[in-house]
Amino acid sequence: MADFSEESFFKKLLSYPLEMSKVKVVNLVKKFDKTVAVNGISFNVKDGEFIVLLGPSGCGKTTTLRCIAGLETPDEGEIYIDDRMVNDLPPKDRDIAMVFQSYALYPHMTVYGNLAFPLKMRKYPKQEIDKRVREVAKLLRIEELLDRKPRQLSGGQQQRVALGRALVRNPRVWLMDEPLSNLDAKLRVYMRAELKKLQKDLKITTIYVTHDQAEAMAMADRVAVMNKGKILQYDEPRHVYERPANLFVAGFIGSPPMNFIKASIIEKDSRIILDAGFFQYELEKDLGEVVKKGASGSEVIIGFRPEHIALSKEKDANSVFQADVYVIEPMGSRIVVDLKAGEYLLKAVTPPTVEIPPSGQKVWVGFPVEQLHVFDAKTEKALI
């Protein structure tokens, strides 16, 4: 087992320098027949940054990545790698490396052959090829597999070979298309950390596509949350979680997802109250002003995360409304409690130390005002 404690452990293994690059995507549009896969997105990636394109299937994240790779031709917009427009460059001239979901190893070549393949094309001398292949194999701990064919490898080993192939020729940008999704859950969590460590240590600019929000949160420097061909929010994972820009992002990030309740804004004696029917929530004056000013109508959606809910048998200062305990799902480290309130089924997450009344009984639900989200029902934009 390698010793990861040293800061640039990985880098010391490589005799060749690794490059970093900026990537800029401006107003990218890609259509397939009549469906618009990517609808005018723009973002930039800094030197050595790890960004994740996150979204449900069909949101255009993979298409975006393929456009950057040069495997698809954009219909509109520009793609820059290091201030050079690469729209018209074929993939081979873009100096990028890509890790595919299926790994796409060459089945008829050994691991060594797979790793050497990108170098052979670039006419490296044999010795240099051998040196680099062995360095990368050592770095990824696949040295003893060099003579095997891909089908003789486990999923995790194939994954490493695919990473190695992307690493061996020192590309400007790493593109990764759901590289971990074919691994079993345990290995995925393990590789997640390893991949992040590798990227941070080598400082390779990386664009990573996934539909797994946990993966995005864990790995990314910045996350671009995508839906229907658009980027809805592009920010650090912490901000995306704490301050989602709209309803979709709020619902997509976090597990279990955020609870949403429809409400209308009521003004009473210059106080601003959110009325959800089965409870009312009074906003502090300045917050209320912000909500009132931002809202396009009187309809809003209140959002609060399951993990921010406090449950109590007796009413206390934080309590907002009363709900029925519906189902209790003990997870070991935490308890997920399904609650029935009005027409809603809500989820709450509590530490196992909290005592929950059995299903059917009533419980008080509360959440701190700092953790409250309010979205415009029509525009779905976050108001606070």
């Binding site: 040069g70 495997l71 074929p90 081979k92």
Partner: protein, 272 residues
Amino acid sequence: MVNWEKTASIILVGLMLIFTLFPLYWLIVTSFKTRLEVIGGVVFIPHQLNWMNYYRPLFEDVYGAYLRNSFILSIAEIALCLPPGILAAYAFSRLKFKADNHFLFWFLTNRMAPPAAFLIPYWVLYTYLNLFDTIYGLIIINSIGNLPFVIWVLKGFIDAIPGDIEEAAYIDGYTFWQMLRKILLPLLRPAIAVCSLFVFIFTWNEMLFASLLTTSPAAMPLTGGLLHYMSQIWVNWSEIAALSVVANLPVIIVIYFLQKHIATALTFGAVR
């Protein structure tokens, strides 16, 4: 105790083997018989190997030329049908173009149509175009049946190869033609071998056009020649048998050497 199941299967397999192998045995035995042995009753083992039955038609008659023509024709078919077949199969498998499915179906129907239906038109056409009684005339007409076959088989194989692998090669710095050479062709090797084998066999066995669109030893393949042998005044069964053995040999030899690939090709899908 008698294992009935086993006994029954041995008998069944034995019967099937007799059914398939006896004609071959009879052909080989007859090819070595003298004329007297052929017409003078049932002889299972000739008293000596009469090699003249092979020598005379091949070296003293024109059948050597027919054999040569068969080889030229079959090998030319492989050389002519496989390169465009691979590219066309790739196009049908990977690319989207207008009416691609219609083209593919049209190619296939070329293969499905009964060749005899086109015999007269071709006969007339070939006479006009001076293609009558030429090897390249036969090469062209065989390609019309073989090319669709090649395209159809290879398309299936290419469909089974994940596109990611090609794209990975592009990203690793390869152009289409380099990718074709380094990735696709090696992966298609069993398929190409099997296609070549079948094209060889189809062409080698083709008799209708061979016997009617050619007449001279300069162009006629062995199948046509064998047919014409029958029309002579008397039938030398031993020589026909000898020529039939000669006609069978290349196919048997090719299959023997390619059987590993045939097995691979039939259990395809194991590319991953």
